[in-house]
């Protein structure tokens, strides 16, 4: 692989790891592991842990994909690998 393409792939991987870390944080950590602890905090009428489990994690998932789409579009342009 050409060196610049290797760098493209590395940056893609780095972005992926960051986004997947957030993915795991909102669902597995906030929505499952810490749910009872976070439920002590209120978000309006929502106990926070429950909100993450039934609403917040889903909203975050949608945002994560669109952030990935936008960042990768920029990255594709920068390394001239667009179709």
């Amino acid at each position: 692989m050409q060196p610049n393409l290797q760098e493209y792939w590395k940056r893609n991987l780095r972005l992926m790891v960051v986004l997947l870390a957030i993915w795991a944080l909102v669902s597995y950590v906030f929505g499952i592991i810490l749910v009872n602890e976070l439920n002590a905090i209120r978000l309006g009428g929502f106990p926070l842990g429950f909100w993450f489990a039934q609403q917040g994690s889903i909203f975050t998932f949608v945002i994560l994909i669109f952030v990935y789409v936008a960042r990768m579009r920029k990255l594709d342009k920068e390394y001239d690998v667009e179709e």
């Binding site: 393409l5 592991i33 009428g45 106990p47 949608v62 990935y68 990768m72 667009e82």
Partner: protein, 591 residues
Amino acid sequence: MSILTWTYIIVGASFGLYMYIAWASRVKDTKGFYVAGGGVPPLANGMATGADWMSAASFISMAGIISFGGFQGSVYLMGWTGGYVLLALLLAPYLRKFGKFTVPDFVGDRYYSRTARIVALICAIFVSLTYVAGQMRGVGIVFSRFLEVDVNTGVIIGMCIVFLYAGLGGMKGITWTQVAQYVVLIVAFTIPAVAISMKITGNPVPQLGFGGTIEGGTYGGRFLLETLDAINQDLGFAAYTAAYGPGQKPMLDVLCITLALMVGTAGLPHVIVRFYTVPTVRAARLSAGYALLFIALLYTTAPAVAGFARYNMVDTLNDKPYAAAPQWFKDWEKTGLIAWLDKNGDGMIQYRAGAAFTGKLQFSGQTGPHGEPLLKNAPTNSPNELYVDNDIMVLANPQIANLPNWVVALVAAGGLAAALSTASGLLLVIASSISHDLYYRIVNRKASEKQRLLLGRVMIGLAVLAAGYFGINPPGFVAQVVALAFGLAASSFFPILVLGIFSKRVNREGAIAGMVAGIGFTMLYIVQTKFMGMKPWLWDITPEGIGAVGMVINFAVTFLVSAMTPPPPQEIQDMVESVRIPKGAGAAVDH
């Protein structure tokens, strides 16, 4: 006009629309038939994926399951949405760049092995068949509840419709029909949800009303969720928003089920194949985003509907005289979705934790002193007198919210759209697995385009017949095997697809060993616990969640065996590198 007349009009109109789309998008070549010509715009593909993904279970049953389970229902909400993040980041763009027709295509080429292709093929067919049987049953149930026809007649009507548009238009026909079906189902789900949110909380946005305060009544001015916690505890249930209490699933099990559903979603062939239908790699990423957005519209509304329905049910029924029960109770009592057994003879409905009676509900045909249909079932010791089916939470919503009859009809059309769209996507996977992966790739490489297209259509026909057979004669184990479908998808496809893209070192020996170990373990555990009555022996993980462990085993075995055997040939390593770069994707090509 009556509900029935409205239902005939609205369901008839929606079927007419699907037929028109099928005719307008009929195809003449295999590329159109398998991957819709590879030219579907991301927005449309997102809607089609949403309809493909959301089945009768999502539309009709999920809100009810959450309503009775409270926090525990979250496993389905997170599990059936989180997989799209994995798809968008780990699979969709790369499989699109690879650009073949099916999942076994990728497995067979990347692992340069006919054995790997065949293992993948068997998994794809098994997973899809399991799933489609449940969908045809769903079609029959919606027909019988709303159109007052026999369940079997309903299944046969559904079979004809699906065969017409899937056989004529292949993936192209299915895709554009699914776009229409998405619109029908989301409108049908949202209208009653908004109305019931208005009625209970005064807020028209269900996602906000869910966290709002109740308007009027005994609990007026209190937060809905706080009220549900209190009501649940008064009646002997666990608090609605709390987790891991007595009688609830332990944390490890919740983690495993959520992970198995997420990874299973990302490994389901009928979902993956949707990303072969878009023109570019960028479009594949974007359409995963749109797909999740469209799915999230329903998946964030469903838990709100669950909360409203729970409150409404307890508020209008519990400790109230049966004689004063609302009309929807009497209507749905006829269908056996709700029933009352006056154990203490006081004429009041007591709703408490625990089952009201033993066995499957059976009416005796006689009427009790309060006008209630009597049951044949033996009562339990629990003070609970009320039986409520999960499905009623969505089906009775329009009546609970006093909506006009045409909305009830729209919900019927929505349920049918959800079931038919999922069934058609699955049938295409089965047909393409047999006609493309098995016949063309393994049996006869010289088959002409025309022969292959004809075979594809014949296979759709056969798959429809098989699905219809299971719809009419549902094997008792349909509910159990859904866990198997997700478990298998999670423990077979997902690890070797991801490793096939992100590792150049993983080879044929590793992939085959990994798939066999992952599936073998998952299948063994599910058969032991679901069919042979064994206790879940691995840290109390239920069979629904065991796919997560199977996945880890698959990853580990694939790595280990690959490390001990020679690396893949240079041309495969070059292929992996080219898959990682979007440039030069072109349309999906057939070698």
